[in-house]
């Protein structure tokens, strides 16, 4: 069953490479996405938690991430069909296989119970997404790809070293050397502290680079700015969640080792710094796709802060993971439409999207409200929960700082988004009109966020709670 989850996309890769028909190739993506989602739902229902020795398996965290990533992927896949139709000149011979590979690696990473395997899968996602960023084949996109590749590779290499350190910590502690999560958790108390701490730092930097925590974020604006909207959506929604999952795995080990005293402050610091940087850099951001990248940095910061505080805040952070992924998906897809329509992503050229593209414009504006924590959308709930967690933990000043930074973010982001969506369109005769498949997926994501804002289904609730206990070690 779980193997099928990974093999299904992989099996389609050769098809994609060999299939002669353009549209068929495009339609492979939704097929893979739908099948994947189906399998995921089945698996969530029927597959029990992983056995201790297993290399791949499910636990609440992986269930949560799969539950987020799979629908997101399906949405983007559907979007991709019409998008690729519109960009025939670019061709989809590289796009489709890479996206399929991306899905496979993503699933593997979500399900792997072995840190080495997780690491490998993450690296694969990096490599698979590089060609996606380069989709537009121009100087800027190649530059973005290069930066993304180099910085993430360095990061991931550091993560490798971190893994080795953790292994050595086990060795030094006299525990059986293994990167199996279960073994590490079991060996937690005896792990040698210096090695563990250093390893934690290296792993955090490795996965943090992928997550885009400041100051490891540098590749993000370029990559998100240059990649097509759907790639941006997949990365901001899926890849970051995955990287965050990896960080949570490390946190699990730290919890088992009783080293949260070291782990949490570091995570909190990175989170706050990301918030600060995002807040400052969103001011007067003249390019709305880069602005979205900073917004992604901001939300990664929130996640880090939540886990760095712990308790209720962790619960909020996990909920935020779900909301953020969906909202970001909608935001990036609609932004992609606007970018296509106006053939520019500079605020100076883009005006009146609401009039020019009623659906995409409205989606963009609404998604902005959603992503800045305005009810009735889910992010309002999760942000408020995180804040409650912070204040409950007695971290008054942290809480107030976060609030001030959120306000600043709102000002910066609001200025750009309103400038894009309101007013008289710069040019009325656009070569682009909203198509069903270009509008329906983001709309669906938005509705999902809306639903999460007014009602959290009981199973999801339990899943979040179990996941929290997993991270907090039942504390």
């Amino acid at each position: 069953m779980l193997a099928a989850l990974i093999l299904l996309p992989l099996a389609l890769v050769p098809v994609a490479l060999l299939a002669p028909w353009y549209r068929l190739r495009s339609w492979l993506l939704p097929a893979a996405g739908a099948g994947h989602l189906l399998l995921v739902l089945l698996a969530l229902g029927h597959v029990a938690d992983a056995a201790p020795g297993a290399w791949i398996g499910l636990d609440p965290l992986s269930r949560l991430v799969l539950l987020v990533a799979s629908p997101l992927y399906l949405g983007c896949a559907l979007y991709a069909v019409d998008y690729l139709e519109m960009r025939r000149e670019r061709g989809n011979r590289t796009m489709v296989p890479c996206l399929l590979l991306f899905l496979a690696a993503l699933t593997l990473a979500a399900m792997s119970r072995h840190l080495g395997l997780l690491w490998l899968a993450l690296e694969t996602t990096t490599l698979a997404s590089a060609p996606l960023i380069y989709f537009n084949r121009n100087r800027l996109s190649i530059e973005a790809t290069w930066k993304y590749l180099l910085i993430c590779s360095v990061g991931i290499a550091l993560a490798m070293l971190g893994l080795l350190f953790v292994a050595y910590a086990a060795l030094r502690g006299g525990a059986p050397v293994s990167l199996l999560l279960t073994d590490l958790l079991a060996a937690g108390p005896v792990l040698s502290r210096p090695w563990l701490h250093a390893g934690f730092v290296l792993l955090l930097i490795g996965f943090g680079t992928k997550m885009g925590l400041a100051p490891l974020h540098a590749w993000k604006p370029d990559a998100y700015g240059e990649a097509p909207g759907l790639v941006g959506a997949l990365m901001a929604g899926g890849l970051t969640s995955l990287a965050f999952l990896a960080v949570l795995r490390v946190m699990q080990v730290m919890t088992a080792a009783g080293a949260l005293g070291v782990a949490r402050p570091i995570l909190l610091g990175l989170g706050l710094f990301s918030l600060l940087l995002a807040a400052l850099f969103m001011m007067r951001q003249g390019d709305f796709k880069r602005m979205l990248a900073y917004s992604s940095i901001e939300h990664m910061g929130l996640l880090a802060v939540g886990v760095g505080i712990g308790g209720l805040a962790t619960f909020g952070a996990l909920l935020h993971l779900v909301n953020n992924a969906l909202a970001k998906g909608c935001l990036f897809l609609s932004a992609g439409n606007i970018h296509r329509a106006f053939a520019s992503k500079r605020l100076s050229d883009v005006r009146g999207a609401l009039v020019a593209l009623p659906f995409s414009g409205a989606l963009f504006l609404t998604a902005f409200l959603a992503v800045t924590g305005t009810p009735p959308f889910g992010i309002f709930i999760s942000e408020f929960t995180i804040l409650r967690g912070i204040f409950d933990a007695g971290r008054l000043w942290v809480g107030l700082t976060v609030l001030v930074l959120l306000a600043t973010v709102f000002i910066g982001m609001g200025a750009s988004v309103l400038a894009v969506s309101q007013g008289e369109p710069t040019d009325r005769d656009l070569a682009f009109a909203d198509r069903f498949l270009l509008v329906a997926p983001p709309l669906a994501m938005l509705l999902a966020v809306l639903l999460l804002g007014v009602y959290i289904p009981e199973p999801l609730w339990q899943l979040l709670e179990q996941a929290r206990l997993l991270v907090e070690g039942g504390a």
């Binding site: 080495g116 690491w119 490998l120 690296e123 490599l127 590089a130 380069y134 121009n138 100087r139 800027l140 190649i142 530059e143 973005a144 790809t145 290069w146 930066k147 590749l149 180099l150 590779s153 360095v154 991931i156 290499a157 490798m160 070293l161 893994l163 080795l164 350190f165 292994a167 050595y168 060795l171 030094r172 050397v177 293994s178 990167l179 040698s192 210096p194 090695w195 250093a198 604006p221 370029d222 700015g225 240059e226 850099f281 951001q285 880069r290």
Partner: protein, 212 residues
Amino acid sequence: MAELSNLCLLLVILVNFFTLGSARLGACIHAVALQGAVLALLPLATHGLNGHTLLLAAGALALKGALIPWLLLRAIREVRIRREMEPLIGFVPTLVLGALATAGAFIFADRLPLIEAHQGGLFIPTSLATLFTGFLLLVSRRKALTQVVGYLVLENGIYIFGILLAEAMPLMVEAGVLLDLLVAVFVMGIVLDQINREFSTLDTEQLSALKD
């Protein structure tokens, strides 16, 4: 056997300094190839001859010693660049920094408790020093190629540390390191190729159009 491994490690450090100091790309790449070859010796030197170590050594030799350097050499032959022109940080400062980094590596390594078997070995400091050297190359050089070289050196540092755990760790992750290195450098090679096609140069100064 420990002397042999320590000898190799000293050699590695020397190569580090050479790469930091030399202005000629070709020389750098050859030096890194040499370093890869030396690293191939290490597992044998530490854990003696067995299937696992042999495989590891072979892999290292093939990738780090032969394949990747060859790719890079081909690349510079194509774009006809010989020297690293005016690095962001001059050669002498880089060397000084490298020396400092190496010293720091030794100090930091002392704080990390080792198991008896590894007492007195130079593994930890060397691997850290190599890591830092790689970073220095990445940070201080302009040419995309040099940065790839830096990435290689960085990976070498990690590899050295990996050897410590060679028998303790399952084969797969080791393979992971090498495989990942291979793929990464391959993709980088492709990207370099594209960059070359777009800009007809590998100077990353050109690659700073995307900024705020």
